[in-house]
C-alpha cells in the first residue's frame, strides 16, 4: 500500500514537474540591494580602529528554478556518522567536513581519484619563479567561468552571485593565517607562505608589534588581476600545487562571511562555488547537497542529489544498507568475514593511505638502544598481524611513506622484513639473550576493544619471534585525548610509555607530509623524543629542493637511514590500512585517497536503485 501511494505521488510530481518546467520563465539576471555588515580596520588619528558599518550593496543575481523535484533526482545516500563539524574551509579539520567542503568549494588544484596526480581545478595553469633572495613565487592562472552560487531552501531557487576571482583566494589565505580563524592546518600554510606565520602569531600588545594592516598586507598572497594569484613562498617548493588545492586556502566569499559571521555556512546563508550547493542542513538530522546548475567544471557522474545521513552506530548503518537505505556503509567487525563470504558482490575494498606503526620511546631503556629497536622491527611479523588483527585487510609496510605519495620508494624495497633469527641475535647483542633481563614494557594504546586486540596481537607476535614472555608487555589503555596528552612534550621522560601504537594519514601527497611532519626531530611533535640526526638534516634540505629526481632519491635515502638494516628506527612501520565496506551494486566510483570524495564523478544506476528500494 505504501509503495502504491509512493508511486502515485511520484507520478503526480513527475507530471507536475513537467508542467512546471514547461511554464518556467527563462533565467534572467536581476539586481537586488542587500544590506551588508562590513568590518574594517582603519587608521584614525594615529590609532588603529576596528569599525563595523552597514552598507547597501547592489548584487546581480541570476535566478533559475530548480530543475526537477527532489524526489526524482538521482540520489546518493551517504552516511557521515556524526554531524558535519563545519563547512568553513579555513577552519575544517575532520574528514567529514573536508569531504563536504570538497563538493561545495573548488580548490586551485585537485587530485585525480585514481592516480593521485595534481589536476587543474580553479586554476588552469601554474608556474614557479625562483627569486635571487632564495624566495619563490608561484603564479596560478584562474578560469573565469566559476561562480559563487547561492541556494534558497525556502524557494528552492539557485542564483549566481558573481564570478570567483583571485581576490577570493587572497582573502582565504589571509583568513587562514589570521589568529582568529587559523587552526591546525593553517600551520601548513604558515610553513611556506611568507608572512603567514607572523600573522598567526601576531600579538598587538608586543612592544615591536607592527600595525595590523601591515601584518595582513605582509601575508604572501596577492592578486595582480582578477584571474591571477601569486603566492610568495619562503623558499622554492616543488609540491606547492598539491598544497594549494587543500581546503585550508580554498576561496571563500568575504561579503557573506562579513554579513553572517560564523553562521555564514548555514543553509540559506552560504554561497558556494563547487559542483554542489547546500540544499538543506538540519544539524545531526539531515543534510542535502544538490547539483549546482551553474557549475561549468567537469561533472562526469550523474548524482544530482546527495542525502547525508547521520548514523553513528555501525550495526544500524549496516542494517540500513541491507534495507537499501544507504549506498555505501561500514560493516561491523563481527560480521565482516560472513559478509565477505556471503555477499562478495557487495564487498568493496579501499585504502585511505593511512599507515600504522609501533613507536618507541628513545630516552629510556630498552628502546634507547638502536639494536633493540631494530630487533623489534625485525621481529614484527606484519603479515601475521594483518591476518589476525585485521582479518587480512592491509598491506605490509617496511618503510613509512606509502605508494601514491611523491617521493615514496617502490613499496617495501626499503626497510627490514620479518626475520626472527636476526631479531634474536640483535636482542642478544643488546644484552638480552632470549629476552632474559628484558624489562617490562609499558605498551600504550587507546581505549577501544579493537585497540586492545591489536596490542595483544603485537605482544603475542613479539613473544613468538623474540622469545619474550607475553607478560613482558603491560598493555595500558587510555581514552584518546588522555593518550594524546600522555604522548605530548609536557610529559616527563620517566612517565612516558616505552612503546605505543599509532597511525598517520596524509594531508597532501608528498613524502614531506610523512617524514618531516611526523618523524623530523624538530618539525614534528617528536613523540619518541629522538635526537636529531643526519636524516633530519636531509629531510630539511629536501623540503625546499626543486629538482624532482633529487627529492625522490633523497627521500629513499631517508627511508633507508630510518628503516633499513642498521637504521635508526624511530618506530617500526607495520601496515597500510585497507578496509572492506559494503557497496550497493548500482553505485560505481573511484574512491578518492586524498582530500575527500568527488560525488560529481560517481555514477548510480538509478533504475536499479529505485527497483531495489521498492521491493
Amino acid at each position: 500500500m505504501r509503495n502504491k501511494k509512493r508511486n502515485a505521488l511520484i507520478a503526480v510530481l513527475l507530471i507536475g514537474s513537467t508542467l512546471l518546467a514547461a511554464c518556467a520563465p527563462p533565467a534572467t539576471p536581476e539586481t537586488v540591494v542587500e544590506q551588508v555588515e562590513v568590518t574594517r580596520v582603519i587608521e584614525q588619528e594615529g590609532e588603529t580602529v576596528v569599525e563595523t558599518v552597514v552598507e547597501e550593496v547592489a548584487v546581480e543575481v541570476v535566478v533559475t528554478a530548480t530543475p526537477a523535484p527532489a524526489d526524482e533526482m538521482v540520489t546518493l545516500d551517504r552516511n557521515y556518522g556524526t554531524d558535519i563539524a563545519g563547512l568553513d574551509p579555513q577552519r575544517a579539520e575532520d574528514t567529514t567536513s573536508i569531504e563536504a567542503i570538497e563538493n561545495l568549494f573548488v580548490g586551485l588544484t585537485d587530485y585525480d581519484d585514481t592516480t593521485g596526480e595534481v589536476l587543474p581545478e580553479l586554476a588552469t595553469s601554474w608556474e614557479q619563479t625562483v627569486n635571487d633572495d632564495g624566495t619563490a613565487d608561484w603564479t596560478f592562472h584562474l578560469r573565469d567561468d566559476i561562480n559563487w552560487v547561492y541556494y534558497n531552501p525556502m524557494t528552492e531557487e539557485t542564483g549566481v552571485v558573481r564570478p570567483v576571482t583571485a581576490q577570493d583566494v587572497v582573502y582565504a589565505v589571509q583568513r587562514a593565517c589570521s589568529p582568529e580563524v587559523g587552526t591546525y592546518y593553517s600551520d601548513i600554510v604558515g610553513s611556506y607562505v611568507i608572512g603567514c606565520g607572523d600573522y598567526l602569531s601576531y600579538d598587538p600588545e608586543a612592544e615591536d608589534a607592527l600595525p595590523l594592516e601591515d601584518v595582513i598586507a605582509g601575508v604572501g598572497a596577492e592578486a595582480p588581476d582578477d584571474m591571477t594569484v601569486v603566492f610568495h613562498l619562503l623558499a622554492p617548493v616543488g609540491y606547492w600545487p598539491a598544497i594549494a588545492g587543500m581546503w585550508t586556502i580554498r576561496p571563500t566569499p568575504q561579503e557573506t562571511i562579513d554579513q553572517f559571521g560564523p553562521e555564514w555556512v548555514e543553509a540559506g546563508n552560504i554561497v558556494t562555488n563547487g559542483p554542489y550547493v547546500l540544499g538543506e542542513w538540519i544539524h545531526s538530522v539531515s543534510t542535502v547537497f544538490l547539483k549546482n546548475p551553474h557549475w561549468t567544471g567537469p561533472f562526469p557522474g550523474n548524482v544530482e542529489k546527495v542525502q547525508i545521513h547521520y548514523i553513528n552506530d555501525v550495526s544500524t548503518e549496516f542494517a540500513l544498507f541491507l534495507d537499501n537505505g544507504l549506498d555505501w556503509a561500514n560493516v561491523p567487525a563481527a560480521e565482516l568475514e560472513a559478509f565477505k563470504a556471503e555477499s562478495p558482490e557487495l564487498a568493496f575494498e579501499s585504502s585511505d593511505l593511512a599507515v600504522f606503526y609501533l613507536s618507541f620511546f628513545h630516552r629510556r631503556p630498552p628502546f634507547d638502544d638502536q639494536k633493540v629497536r631494530e630487533a623489534f622491527a625485525l621481529g614484527l611479523d606484519r603479515q601475521a598481524f594483518i591476518d589476525v588483527a585485521r582479518s587480512g585487510e592491509g598491506v605490509v609496510m617496511t618503510h613509512f611513506t606509502p605508494p601514491g605519495m611523491f617521493g615514496a620508494p617502490p613499496i617495501n624495497e626499503v626497510g627490514v622484513s620479518y626475520d626472527p633469527e636476526r631479531a634474536r641475535e640483535l636482542l642478544a647483542e643488546a644484552g638480552y639473550p632470549n629476552c632474559e633481563g628484558f624489562p617490562t614494557i609499558e605498551f600504550l594504546t587507546t581505549s577501544s576493544d579493537r585497540a586492545r586486540m591489536w596490542a595483544e596481537t603485537y605482544a603475542a607476535i613479539f613473544s613468538e619471534s623474540l622469545g619474550c614472555p607475553v607478560d613482558t608487555f603491560n598493555i595500558i589503555q587510555q581514552e584518546f585525548r588522555v593518550y594524546l596528552a600522555t604522548l605530548s612534550p609536557d610529559t616527563p621522560d620517566e612517565e612516558m610509555p616505552h612503546m605505543w601504537s599509532a597511525g598517520w594519514g596524509p594531508d597532501y601527497a608528498d613524502a614531506d607530509n610523512w617524514l618531516r611532519a611526523v618523524v623530523h626531530c624538530e618539525d614534528s611533535e617528536n613523540n619518541p623524543r629522538r635526537e636529531c640526526s643526519a636524516a633530519d638534516e636531509l629531510i630539511k634540505e629536501l623540503q625546499f629542493e626543486t629538482d624532482a629526481q633529487t627529492r625522490i632519491d633523497g627521500y629513499r635515502q631517508v627511508e633507508e637511514m630510518f628503516f633499513g638494516p642498521g637504521g635508526e628506527f624511530p618506530f617500526a612501520p607495520c601496515f597500510l590500512r585497507i578496509e572492506t565496506d559494503a557497496l550497493q551494486t548500482w553505485l560505481e566510483f573511484d574512491p578518492a585517497e586524498l582530500g575527500g570524495h568527488h560525488y560529481n564523478n560517481w555514477v548510480i544506476d538509478w533504475e536499479a536503485k529505485k527497483a531495489a528500494q521498492s521491493d
Binding site: E263, H283, H309, L322, E479, R481, V518, E525
Partner: protein, 326 residues
C-alpha cells in the same frame, strides 16, 4: 505548601550552581584538551594559544567559571568547540525536543504497561498471571537496550521490512530547524518511533511493574485495607482508591529521576536508532573535550532533575494525605 515550593525553588540556585561548578572543574581536570587533535605533527604553541584566547581558556579557571555563570544567567551557554557554527544553545534547542518526544512516549508506555502489570501481579499473587507478569518484568529489566534495539531492527526493519531501520520521523520544523517538544502524531512519526519507544519503554515498564507489584503487595496486607474490605467497600474501590494510591509512593519516587533521565536524552537508544537527540552530547562531548557542551548538557539534566524531584515531593501530598510540608 506554597512556602515549601518557594523554598525548594530557592534551593535550586545553590544546587544547580554546585552541579555546574563540579562539572566545570571535573572536565578541566581530565587530561587532554579540546585542541589536542594530533599526536604527531607539531602544532605551534601560538595556534593553540590563539584558540585558547578565542574561548577564554587562557584565563584562570575561577575567572572562566565567573564568565560561564554570568553568561548562563543570560541563558548563553557558550560556543561549541566541536560544531563550529553552532552554540551550545543551538545544540540543546535542536536535540532536547527530540529527546523529550522520545522520552515522553517511552515513559507513557512504561506507565501504561508497568502499572497495570504490577497491579495484576500483586492482586493475583502466586498465580499464573503473577508468574507471567513477573517473568516479563524480569525479562524487560534483564535484556539491555543495546541488545533489544538491534534485535528489533533486525526483525522488523531488515527481515520483515515493516518499519524503518533508523532515524527520527517527526514532521520537520519549518523555521529555525527546531522540533516541537511534544510529538505531533503522524504515520511517519509512529513508524519511526515504534521500535525506539518499545526498546526504551520495555525497560521502564518492567522497572515500574516490579516496583508497583512489590509496593502493592506490602500495602494490600495493611490493616486499613482489611478495614476497608470489612466495611463492605467494593474491591475496585479498595484497590484503586486505598491500596494503589498509597503503593504508588515508591513508584513516583523513582519516576522523578527516571523522567529527568529519559527526556534529556538516552545515549544507547538514540545511538542505536540514529535519533538526533541530546543523548550523544553527554558522551561524545567528553571525548572531544567540548567543555561548554558537557557543562551545558549536564546543566540541562540537573534542572530537569531538580524540577522533577520537586514535582515528586508535591505528588506525595496528594498520594498520602498524612504527608505535609507545613
Amino acid at each position: 505548601m506554597v512556602r515549601y515550593i518557594v523554598r525548594r525553588i530557592l534551593w535550586f540556585i545553590p544546587v544547580v550552581l554546585a552541579i555546574t561548578f563540579a562539572t566545570f572543574a571535573l572536565v578541566r581536570a581530565i587530561p587532554g584538551g579540546p585542541f589536542d587533535v594530533t599526536g604527531e605533527r607539531a602544532v605551534p604553541d601560538y595556534i593553540i594559544g590563539n584558540l585558547e584566547e578565542i574561548y577564554h581558556l587562557n584565563e584562570p579557571v575561577w575567572k572562566q567559571f565567573g564568565f560561564y555563570v554570568w553568561d548562563a544567567l543570560h541563558l548563553d551557554f557558550g560556543p561549541s568547540f566541536t560544531y563550529q557554527s553552532q552554540t551550545v544553545n543551538d545544540l540543546i534547542a535542536q536535540g532536547l525536543p527530540i529527546s523529550f518526544q522520545l522520552g515522553i512516549m517511552a515513559l507513557a508506555l512504561g506507565l501504561v504497561v508497568g502499572v497495570p502489570a504490577g497491579v495484576i501481579a500483586a492482586l493475583k499473587h502466586n498465580t499464573l498471571s503473577d508468574y507471567i507478569a513477573t517473568f516479563i518484568a524480569v525479562f524487560g529489566v534483564s535484556v539491555p537496550n543495546i541488545v533489544l534495539g538491534p534485535l528489533l531492527i533486525l526483525v522488523f526493519g531488515v527481515w520483515l521490512n515493516w518499519l524503518p531501520v533508523a532515524e527520527w520521523g517527526a514532521v520537520r520544523p519549518e523555521h529555525f530547524f527546531i522540533y516541537p517538544w511534544l510529538p505531533i502524531p503522524s504515520l511517519q512519526l509512529l513508524e519511526h518511533a515504534l521500535l525506539p519507544v518499545l526498546t526504551l519503554g520495555s525497560g521502564l515498564s518492567a522497572q515500574i511493574a516490579r516496583l508497583t507489584r512489590a509496593s502493592l503487595l506490602q500495602v494490600i496486607r495493611q490493616d486499613y485495607i482489611r478495614t476497608a474490605r470489612a466495611k463492605g467497600l467494593m474491591e475496585r474501590i479498595v484497590v484503586i482508591r486505598h491500596a494503589l494510591k498509597n503503593s504508588l509512593i515508591p513508584v513516583v519516587t523513582v519516576l522523578g529521576p527516571l523522567f529527568a533521565g529519559v527526556v534529556t536524552g538516552t545515549f544507547v537508544v538514540e545511538q542505536i536508532f540514529a535519533i538526533p537527540g541530546m543523548g550523544r552530547h553527554f558522551v561524545a562531548s567528553i571525548g572531544q573535550r567540548d567543555y561548554p557542551l558537557i557543562t551545558g548538557a549536564t546543566l540541562v539534566y540537573a534542572v530537569f532533575l531538580v524540577i522533577s524531584n520537586l514535582l515528586v515531593d508535591i505528588t506525595y501530598v496528594w498520594l498520602d494525605p498524612r504527608i505535609s510540608y507545613e
